[in-house]
Symmetry: C2
Subunit: 352 residues, 2 copies
């Protein structure tokens, strides 16, 4: 079946019975197996799937010092017939290699990626629970392991995939602040990549935002802070009247897979989308006039995340409660595709 | 002697005899011991000094995914009497905690840092070789170890110090390119911190520069690419006529310890220094007029690194060979202080 000759080291006993699947904390529980593939001597070596467990590395491994690391976030879904599906995994594959290229990490072979994913999900398929909202969160990542602390690209890496069962992610009521001082990414930088360092850089400003009662920051461009970009773990959509606005991709903004799926769903459903720079000023003006109907984030973990209000320049705005929410419409449409409930006109599902 | 009750686990046998100290490759050889201190349950635990070796961590450890990691670079020097000295270690201590604060990492206690350094250097003192140019490169670093892949600050960390013996670092003839497209740091970002992710972000543009025959990039501001900032592992000085120019510190530029030491040495020696924004245009103009006499970088690893030429906008400039080079003057002055050869009027040396 596989063309990759992945070596499988079996577990002695599954730990699945120790897990309370009704009380999962996101990203803390991992399955029985993990996928691991080392890069050395100029090529990716034969991958191995083995019992999930600690990895050992020299303290001089480059990832610890220079952040040479990228990752992806994906989910697998189980339908009522116990079939397992991935959602647009080709996009994740392309993106992790795009991220890797920007971080000077060697690209990962396509067959290793897909064969690894399939075999791993098959081995751990009992960990994927049925029911809307349940899923298997999949985390592929690459880290520089070469034990040498000079500041240059490593010649040894580790590509891993780990799996964490997840329940419906409800973030609570989300109120955001538009960034005025801190920023997430520079023009000509690595903001478009899922580079590890992009995330830690947001932790402190986000902590400050939490202390002021905001759950997330919507980042603005670093130059002028006049343009709304993304939320760090989500892309952002604004509904003004019945038109959706979202920022175009550039070298600062992640090319979100949920984002591009929503844009397609909007087109499919005759909802007008403008992909263009969105200014802080126009969103505040629309809010004042009562034309701003919704703001929501999109991302793999959250799917679609409605935002109830925002703040900028000391002014706070509450979004109206509305019927016919685009956010909820998109969320249902998308999840029906992901869980094999509805048709899949664009071929986004991949059956495992 | 120590107030920190650091636990010491002895080696069974030193590996020092296996090392060829005349052929060291920077950052690849490590001493017998390493310092390790874990943060958990809301505080830094009792540190331990133990045999240098691999560390084991969950693949979900946050450093692998979100780059929550900072580091420092320091050196220890041995004088002719076998006494060992650090250079301005208080500055490294302050800076690692400044970096940590920006990355939402808990600050490290001062007594652990200094007691750890001293005890580690004492245990490994035979690894520090006499002679100008020989030194012990010291790498303190902090990594987020909490095994949970949600994108938020960890509640578990590891602070380590590892030691790597170094010889005089000669980078060869260094020709640089001024950045026109890529950038290193955003306003409001983490460029001023020694954050791990800042370094990997430079690897790909630096690789492109290498392919074009340049050893380093001098980064410009991300907004306009008109202002010269730093070189990623070095701060940068320009000598126009007999005046030194260097960019002011801001949230994009590392507050270099060698940089501030050179500024002090310049003042001590009646060399005029202007700390202000330096434009690409004025440096090119000065080069055309024959007024640009030197460019050099400053940093812990390289000390002072002369640059022989630069390129920008398709134009290349060679710097003149001059007598009375500031770069060589500063390098000798600084090393004489570091190696306990000259007086130390500012109290920069710390005897171990």
């Amino acid at each position: 079946m596989s063309t990759s000759n992945i070596q499988i080291i079996p577990i002695s006993q599954s730990k699945i019975d120790t897990v309370d699947f009704n009380n999962l904390v996101f990203g803390t529980v991992f399955t029985d197996y993990m996928f691991e593939c080392d890069y050395k001597d100029g090529k990716w070596q034969t991958p191995v799937i083995k019992p999930y467990g600690e990895i050992s590395m020299a303290p001089s491994a480059r990832v610890f010092h220079y952040g040479q690391a990228v990752f992806e976030g994906m989910k697998a879904y189980k339908d009522e017939n116990d079939d397992v599906f991935l959602f647009r995994p080709d996009e994740n594959f392309k993106r992790i290699n795009k991220s890797s290229a920007r971080l000077a990490i060697p690209e990962f072979p396509e067959n290793y990626f897909f064969d690894g994913l399939k075999q791993l999900l098959n081995l751990d398929k009992d960990w994927i629970k049925k029911g809307i909202g349940n899923s298997m969160y999949i985390r592929p990542f690459v880290i520089a392991t070469q034990p040498a602390i000079s500041a240059s690209p490593a010649n040894e890496y580790k590509f891993m995939i780990i799996l964490s069962p997840a329940q419906a992610y409800y973030a609570g009521e989300v109120r955001v602040v538009f960034a005025e001082q801190y920023s997430r990414a520079a023009d000509g930088g690595v903001g478009f990549a899922k580079a590890a360092g992009n995330y830690a850089a947001q932790f402190y400003p986000t902590k400050l935002a939490h202390e002021q009662g905001f759950q997330q920051i919507i980042w603005t461009d670093a130059n002028s802070h006049e343009y709304l970009e993304e939320a760090g773990t989500m892309n952002i959509f604004f509904r003004v009247g019945d038109t959706l606005l979202t920022a175009p991709n550039n070298d600062r903004i992640l090319d979100g897979i949920t984002r591009k799926s929503l844009i397609q769903l909007a087109e499919d459903n005759n909802i007008k989308v403008e992909i263009r720079r969105v200014t802080v000023a126009e969103i505040k003006e629309a809010a004042r006039k009562g034309e701003l109907k919704e703001i929501f984030g999109s991302g793999t973990a959250t799917v679609v995340n409605p935002i109830i209000g925002f703040s900028h320049g000391g002014e706070s705005f509450d979004l109206p409660k509305i019927e016919n929410s685009y956010a909820l419409f998109f969320k249902e449409k998308l999840m029906n595709i992901q869980y094999n409930i509805s048709e899949d006109p664009h071929g986004w599902r991949l059956k495992i």
